[in-house]
Assembly symmetry: C2
Homo-oligomer: 300 residues x 2
């Protein structure tokens, strides 16, 4: 029997996985569905997929593995659309940025977490989107997090492990969904909130001050994520607010502390907070500690 993998959503994330799977020769046939017909057509022309399906039920016929590669905000309607064609011999997975919300969506739609659905999230991406930006190496040596539940079948987990590991060269991790959501709240969701908020400040005074001429590299890097898609990130932040809200309060407390150090002119406290951050980042990101602009050698 021909082994067939189906992608619902062939953007950067789904398309890159499709290309990797083809390179690895993991499936005989790769088909895709996308509500953006131009993107679907492009995916076909670029050889990202072998078959472009015009409806969801078509794509589900005789697929051994279905990857839902849509933003987390639209996974529930996708689940509702595929439920009538649900195949218990098929394995399903997703790439959503939050995992408890996907599990809730599954419970809402199916009344349980189906044994053949393995929630997943690749911690990787680029600044591009669409199947035109997809490339097979996107996930190589990147981390993918799977959050199977008690009821998830081991064979289903194995098939999704194989997909990301042998198929895409990724490092596959397993952890509880709440653990995943807690980590991503800190490393991704809060940073987005912080960057969106910061850039919004600048929209207020820009007309008088014309900041635009004076935004150095540090600002560009710091705010890059503030260019992220606003609907997708509203969905992600709302989906993970259980962990995002307390973190955001901690963040404000830390800012309060720095604010009072500034008020009191407490250089020692500021330095200890700043150098703690510097050490922490080196530990988290690794490599050499890099320097900000206009770091010059002390002359006294």
């Amino acid at each position: 029997m021909k082994q067939r993998i189906a992608f619902i959503g062939v953007g950067l994330i789904g398309g890159s996985l499709a290309l990797a799977v083809r390179q690895a020769g993991l499936y005989d046939e790769i088909c895709g569905f996308d509500s953006d017909l131009d993107n679907l057509q492009l995916a076909l022309e670029l050889g990202v997929i072998d078959d472009a399906m015009s409806s969801i039920h078509e794509i589900l016929e005789s697929a051994q593995l279905v990857v839902i590669a849509t933003p987390v905000g639209v996974i529930k309607p996708v689940l509702q659309a595929i439920k009538p064609y649900w195949n218990s011999d098929c394995v399903y997975t997703d790439v959503g940025s939050t995992k408890q919300s996907v599990i809730h969506d599954l419970q809402d739609v199916f009344g349980e977490l189906p044994a053949n659905f393995v929630p997943g999230h690749p911690v990787a991406g680029t600044e591009q989107s669409g199947s035109g930006a997809a490339f097979a190496e996107l996930y190589r040596n990147k981390h993918v997090i799977l959050t199977p539940g008690q009821s998830t079948s081991e064979s289903a987990v194995q098939r999704v492990r194989e997909l990301w590991g042998q198929g895409a060269g990724a490092i596959v991790n397993e952890m509880p969904a709440d653990h995943h959501d807690q980590i991503l709240a800190a490393t991704s969701h809060l940073p987005h909130i912080a960057a969106f908020a910061l850039v919004n400040l600048l929209s207020k005074n820009n007309d008088d001050l014309d900041y635009s001429r004076f935004t150095a590299g540090g600002f560009k890097d710091f705010t890059r994520i503030a260019s992220s898609d606003s609907e997708m990130w509203s969905d992600i932040c709302l989906a993970n607010r259980e962990y995002l809200l307390p973190l955001l309060k901690d963040y404000q407390r830390e800012l309060d502390h720095l604010l009072s150090c500034l008020k009191q002119g407490d250089k020692q406290q500021l330095m200890s907070r700043f150098s703690n951050a510097r050490k922490t980042r080196q530990h988290l990101v690794g490599g050499n500690i890099d320097q900000s602009r206009n770091t010059t050698v002390e002359t006294t």
Copy 2:
């Protein structure tokens, strides 16, 4: 008479300007002083400077232009050290990240803003430091801000304009010092505070959660500036707290607003704040709006 330029501090900033000036042939002789003797020796070996001086008074002899290329936190002691050798025929400038503080330092040391001192700040840099990292193109087409006062002589301003313009290929701007400090508070100083605070959060829970494996590109970019030198940035933030404090309060207000949107599940408000940030960044930084990781094509 030989035209001589002298650098107090030959790190990345001073050293790069020295190399640019040499390339432009703007001065006959380039000499330097640095309290870090290894760095000074390296600058000499690399041809960043022609002469390495062992004392500040030596360097001031017969120089037509003196560039104080030290962190803002040490400019005052440098001014005190050069005051006894002050030469009214010579032009002095600095590269400090805050400008009102430098003007206050000048007033403390000289009782006024000397007519032959032109406060300056190049809005440029790299992630490196030291004369070994210096390169002549660092300032090409980058902005430099000069903040002369009422008492500053026009000929002194012209000589510093020539230094950065013809000498380094930079775009030279003039504005009041408070205007400079207001802009940099928003585009550089507050982003540093926000990044330091964010990374400090992660130091708390990292042992349980091991964030380090799951920090994607967005996190690395967002927090790069949190690797900045803690003493230099404490000095900068304290020197500019007049403008930094109200901005930090505005930032907290914006975060409060986003927090209440999250609490209330107000997706429309979140989206409008996020897309406002997205548009603002595009306006400020220019170029295409880039996408965050796992942006996939909507399938519904």
